[in-house]
Symmetry: none
Subunit: 114 residues, 2 copies
DNA sequence: TCGCGGTGTGAAAGGGATGTGAAAAGGTCT
DNA sequence: AGACCTTTTCACATCCCTTTCACACCGCGA
């Protein structure tokens, strides 16, 4: 993965820039404020870009524990993350749902109507 | 079998790429969305490529149980799988029917009219 | 030609999975 | 304590997946 001048890993995907090292996200060069959990979810997904990640794996990566049955935490934070990303970058989609398994970070220009 | 950077088993057959490890299928490099059952059927077939697989074996591989007489589940999902594959890759055929036995994953360019 | 077994596939019912707003609980600062 | 923000949990609506049924088609044998 690309790294910044300070050596921090950085991911660029369209107008989105995720600086894992300093816990910063830029959308069109503008800072996108995320809460701790939101950033952790995003980071976990970005670190596994283009791979389908199970809810259990995401949960373990963020909460460091066993996910209880029917726990919806992951879904809730993915929803909030999507919401912020979409408001900042309306013409891009980043997180895809894989029903029955989990999510996949897969940036693409949104095909929806403008 | 070939493996990806993450060490996941990958099968390439013409323009089709099946990543068994991360539950992803690419058609001409583009993600092909499959449901759980569809992917399981495909995975079971790919794992037995070029072999004729009985309905019973496919059923056991996906549903983990004894197939009831006259159960059509396998047929239905093979049909849906074919449908999605054909829509994504019109000039290729992947699943052959062996009447009275089952199916066989055997990729080949389609000979149909253009 | 008729009947029959085998297969392809559309359609519908039902249920599980997901998106998401909102309340409850917890933390931090002053 | 009070204000404010975040995390957690709950509840509900919606979506879409699975399952099952039914019908059509095909090839074959009587």
């Amino acid at each position: 993965m690309e790294t910044s001048q300070q050596g921090d890993p950085v991911l660029r995907a369209g107008p989105l820039e995720v600086r894992l090292g300093d816990r910063t996200v830029l959308a069109d060069q503008r800072p996108l404020p995320l809460t701790v959990r939101e950033f952790q979810i995003l980071a976990a997904l970005v670190n596994r870009a283009e791979r389908v990640v199970s809810r259990e794996e995401l949960y373990a990566a963020v909460w460091h524990g066993e996910m209880r049955d029917h726990d919806r935490s992951v879904d809730v934070y993915v929803s909030r993350l999507r919401s912020k990303l979409e408001r900042a970058l309306p013409h891009w989609a980043y997180i895809r749902t894989h029903i029955g398994f989990g999510y996949c970070f897969s940036p693409r220009p949104s095909t929806g109507e403008w």
